[in-house]
Structures are given as C-alpha cells and as structure tokens.
Assembly symmetry: C2
Homo-oligomer: 357 residues x 2
C-alpha cells in the first residue's frame, strides 16, 4: 500500500486507504452471503459480519476525519448509513458477548468452574454459546415466588437462567433485525456506494494536509481525555464507578458518569483510523491498543452491569435471584472502575513516550 | 516512664508498662461506673469502655509476649479473662459501627447525602447514631411482599430499614450482655487481678531479654505476612475478595479467605504492644499505624459484607431489598480488597524503611 512521502499525493494516500477498506467491505459481504446459505457456516458468518463491521467503521471514520478532502454531500450521506449498518450488525454480537461476560462472572462469584464456550477458536469470544448451556442446575420450581431462598447459589443459578432468557431473546431479535437489514434496499444502497468507493474515491480539489487533519482528530481525543477524571481513575479502589449504583434518578445513575468515557472511546477509534490512513496500513501502536482495549472493557462491563440491573426489575423474581443480580451489578461496575484504572495506566505511558522523543 | 537503657532492668521496664496499663484500666473502670449513673453520661460511658478495652488488650498482649518473665499460672489464668472482657465490651461498639458503615455505604450508592452522626466528636466514629434516624423515607407498605419493586431507591431504603432493625437489636443485646458482665463475679475477679497488677507485677527470676521476646512477636507477624497473598493484593482490581461471594459452600465463602488477614491483624497488635513495652510508652510508628488501620478496615468491611448477606437471607423480603443488599455486599467485599491493597502499600513501605537504617 501507499506510503506517505513526497512522491505520493495526499489524494493518493487517502484513496488507497479507502479503496482498501471498501474492497475488504465487499469481500466480507460476499463471504457473509455465501456462509449464510450453508448450515455449517454460522462461525464463518460471524467472522464475515465482524470483518464487515470493521471495514464499515474505518470507512465511516475516515470520511469524517478527512471530510475536507472528499465530496461533501456524498460523504455526509454515506457516513450515517455506514453507522446504521455497523450498529445493526454489532447488536447480535454484543448481546452474545454480554451474556458470556455475565455468566462467567456468576461462575467466578460462585466459585464454580467456568463453562467453556462451545464456539471454535477465532469466532467472537464465546459469542456462540448457545441458550440452555449455562452449566447451572436450576432446581425444579425454583422460579416459584413462594419458595424461600434456599441459599445464594440457587440465587446465582436463577439469575443465570433469567439473564440467559432475556439476553438470548434480545440476541435472536437482533439477529432477525440484521437479516432484515441485509435484505433491505437501504443496505443495497450502502453496498452500491461502497462499490463506487472501491473503484474511485470522490476527492475534491482541496489540498489540506492529511497530517493536519489527522492532528485535528488527535486533538479532539486529547481534549476529551483532559476532561476525564483521570486523577481519580488512577487512584485504585476509588469506589467511584458504583456511586449512585442504587440511585433512582437516571441523571445520577452510573450510566451518566460513563458518557465521557464512551465518547473518548469513539474519538480514540477515529484517531487510530487516522493513523492507519497516514501509515497506509492497519496496525496499532501498542499503547494505543492497550488504551483502546481498556475502553472496550469499560463499555462491555457498563453494558453488562445495566443488563443485570435491568434483569433485577423483572416482576416476581425471587429475593435470592435479585440478591445475586445485585452482587453481579456491583461486580461489573467494579470492572468499569478497573477499566478506567487500566486506561489511566496505558494513557500515561502514551503521553510519556510522546514527551520523550 | 522508664526507658530501656543500662540503668533499668528488664523487670523494671516490663513492670512499669504493665502497671501503667493496669492503672489506666482501673481509671477507665471508675469513669465508666460514674458515667453510667448519669443520664447524660452515655458518651462518657462509651469513651470509658473504649479506654478499658484498650488497656485490657494491652495487658493481655503483654502477658502473652513476655510470658517467660511472668508468673506462668497467674498470667495464663488472667489472659483469657481479659480477652473475654474486651470481647464482650467490643460487641456493642462493633454493631453500632457496622450499622453506620452500611448506612453510609447505602447513602453513597444511592447518591443521597450522608446523614451526619448525632454523637459528639471524640465518641467512637458515628457509633452513637440512634435507631430510626437513617434518613430514609421508607414508603408506607413498602415491606409488603406483594408490592412490585418500585425502583431501586425503594430497595435501598428498605435495605437500610432492615439492617437498622437487625443491627440495632444485636447492639441492644450486646449492651445488655456488657451490663451483665460488669455486674458479674467473673468481672470482679478480673478487676481484682488487675488491681494486684497495678501495685505489684508478679515477675519470675528469668532474665530473658525483653528485646529478644519482642523480636519473637515480630517474627510471628513477619511469618504471617509472608503467608498472605500479598503479590495479588498489590495488583489493583484483582477482584479476589468477591470471588466465591455467591458460593453456598461455607469453606469457599469469602470469609475463609479472610482468616489469614484477621490473624495477621492480631499479630500486628501484639507486635505494636511489644514495641510500646520497649519504648516505655504508647505511640506508634507511622507505617505500622497505617498497616494496622488497613487491617481494621479489612475486618470492619468483611463483617459489614457478612451482615448484608445475612440480612438478604431474611424470609419474605422484597426483591428490590434483596438487590440492594447484593450491591451492598459486593461493595463491602471490594472495600475488603481495597484494604488488602492499602495494607500491601503500607507494609512494603515498612520493610523498605527497615532495610535502610
């Protein structure tokens, strides 16, 4: 792929990156179509959908960061469509991963051995674990509200069964929504646009420097990080992530304090994609990868904590189930706090390295 | 008080310390008796009981560490009696402090402002907070099992009311037990023995070095610390303290992993008292005080976590109450983990300072 040097123009570099990602998008789409006609192709289908989302995110991010160099109307029209597509595809994976995270946590909290995920290596981490295989022996009639809690392991088993039911249902719905999306005219329009991109990138005559635009993305990230409570996050066991964990007021709920972290996650992605454009190939700085992983963990744990809290609001659950869900919620909020600490460590390493050229 | 130098003998130093503590014991006992006849003397009574426990612990610890220098039979008889007395007196304070800790945590988790403790400064931290003042508006009929959970703050309020009921009852029983102990012939025998000690310490003719015996206490502590999982504790967010938090098997329950830490707390006390004997006066090394505070916090948080788990086993509680108690249990187990981390930091500072004289 093209390297950014004096012999290649700004347009060449940007075109090469976008064409590469568009080609990857179309290849994944073809793989996905072939795999879904095959009964044994579930894993291949998952991998193809993942590659498709990956390319869609990169194209969308690049259209945003380098928008002065691209046909404005075209880019502004395509970007939300790519976001819609990757969002729709991500949901099924997210529900599967969330269930695995929560069941693993319940096993850890109960001192039970974790159930190995039945999906083959290479698929999304444990994402294919099927319903009804959570490894818990739920006592017969255990969901009967009139039965007194017979110890907390019963509670953990019932919490696992409840989460499995709710998240499997959500996953099935997300799967249907994704299938529907693939058959929609809206999707075909996105695919057509990406096919155009693969052959020719609609550049403007603007000569803005790629590095300057990439620096803009980095500055937005730096500003977002500066607004984070990093000092607090770097102090272990600050107990901040669980504050307001029992609040009724949604504005004070833990989710509100997650917002700047989730925004930073988005901006870190844009920064990483802009670096890829400049480098001409995918690949990541080790420290940025660590920071990125910490923010992924933050997002996953926060969503898992919400799912546990939401399951606890199911009517007529037994007190032991609710207790286990409370422990699980707090456990995942501490994971959120741990992720912030990990981001703090990775980020400090990053800025140190920058200040010592 | 006597300083350990060539002009004072081993016996003089030990006698001076024990006589000082015995005098303090008798003074506190007198204060306690006077205060309890006065209706406004509740706070004074708490302070006197605390001073009494403090002296009883120091006398008992000294009888143990320096036992070769003391009349064996006398020391072996008095020590368990002192432990019985300080244990009986400690219970009332412990229940009060546990309730304050749990209510403060529930307020923090709900984002509600903490209710200031109505006791005057100098009394045990918040220990005097009275029943019915937990600052929660529990909805009418909220304890009715048939009412669906109306949001988690209702759960937190009901959890607070339940804990307040249970721990206030336990505290009241402990108070009665303490009053009964003060009137018992068993107590009078202890007081008589301490009065003997205040006038004359029953020394043997053994000439063992005080420093050597104190070093023995330090070695026991060092061995106990070496057996702790300190490497793990020093890694923030290791999530170890909550492992098995939902286990039904008592041996795998979190309490089992607390045992070596609680033992270390006892041995650290013995080491600190032995240092006081050598120094001839109370007072602590700053690092040992930090390590000691961390282990106190470990014990308090572990007991609070157990109280929350135990309250969750109350029959017929609402799911929202059980959920709040689950969050609270996990929060306190993370406090346990934070305390282990704090001990690790304090202890490393300690040994560094020792190796750099």
């Amino acid at each position: 792929m093209a390297q950014l040097n004096h012999e290649t123009t700004t347009g060449d570099v940007l075109s090469a990156y976008l064409q590469g990602q568009a080609t990857e998008f179309l290849r994944s789409l073809r793989l996905h179509r072939e795999s879904t006609t095959d009964a044994q192709g579930a894993e291949e289908s998952l991998l193809a959908a993942r590659a498709l989302r990956r390319a869609a995110r990169r194209i969308g991010g690049t259209l945003h960061t380098f928008r002065p160099l691209l046909d404005q109307e075209w880019a502004a029209g395509l970007r939300p469509e790519l976001a819609w597509l990757s969002g729709t595809l991500a949901r099924e994976h997210a529900y599967a991963a969330r269930l695995v995270r929560l069941l693993d946590a319940l096993h850890r909290l109960s001192g039970a051995p974790a159930v190995p995920a039945p999906v083959a290596a290479g698929a999304v981490a444990g994402g294919g674990r099927s319903a009804g295989r959570n490894g818990w022996a739920v006592p017969r009639g255990a969901d009967d509200q009139s039965s007194a809690p017979r110890g907390l392991t019963v509670g953990a088993a019932k919490a696992a069964a409840l989460l499995e039911r709710q998240l499997t249902l959500a996953r099935t719905r997300a799967h249907s929504a994704a299938l529907q999306a693939f058959g929609s005219s809206r999707f075909h329009a996105v695919a057509d646009n990406v096919a155009v991109l693969a052959s020719e990138v609609p550049l403007t005559r603007a000569t803005d420097d790629l590095k300057l635009l990439a620096a803009g993305a980095e500055e937005e990230l730096t500003n977002a990080v500066a607004a984070l409570p990093l000092g607090q996050a770097g102090h272990p066991y600050n107990a901040e992530a669980l504050t307001h964990g029992l609040a009724a007021d949604a504005d004070a709920a833990p989710e509100a304090q997650d917002v700047p972290w989730l925004k930073t996650r988005d901006l870190l992605r844009l920064h990483r994609y802009a670096r890829e454009v400049l480098a001409g190939c995918p690949g990541d700085d080790l420290r940025l990868a660590d920071a990125s992983r910490a923010l992924d963990r933050h997002r996953d744990a926060a969503d898992a904590a919400s799912a546990a809290a939401s399951a606890a609001r199911t009517p007529r659950i037994a007190p032991a189930t609710a207790y286990a869900l409370g422990v699980l919620h707090a456990d995942q909020r501490h994971e959120v706090e741990a992720a912030r600490f990990a981001f703090h460590q990775a980020w400090l390493r990053e800025t140190e390295a920058v200040s010592t050229p």
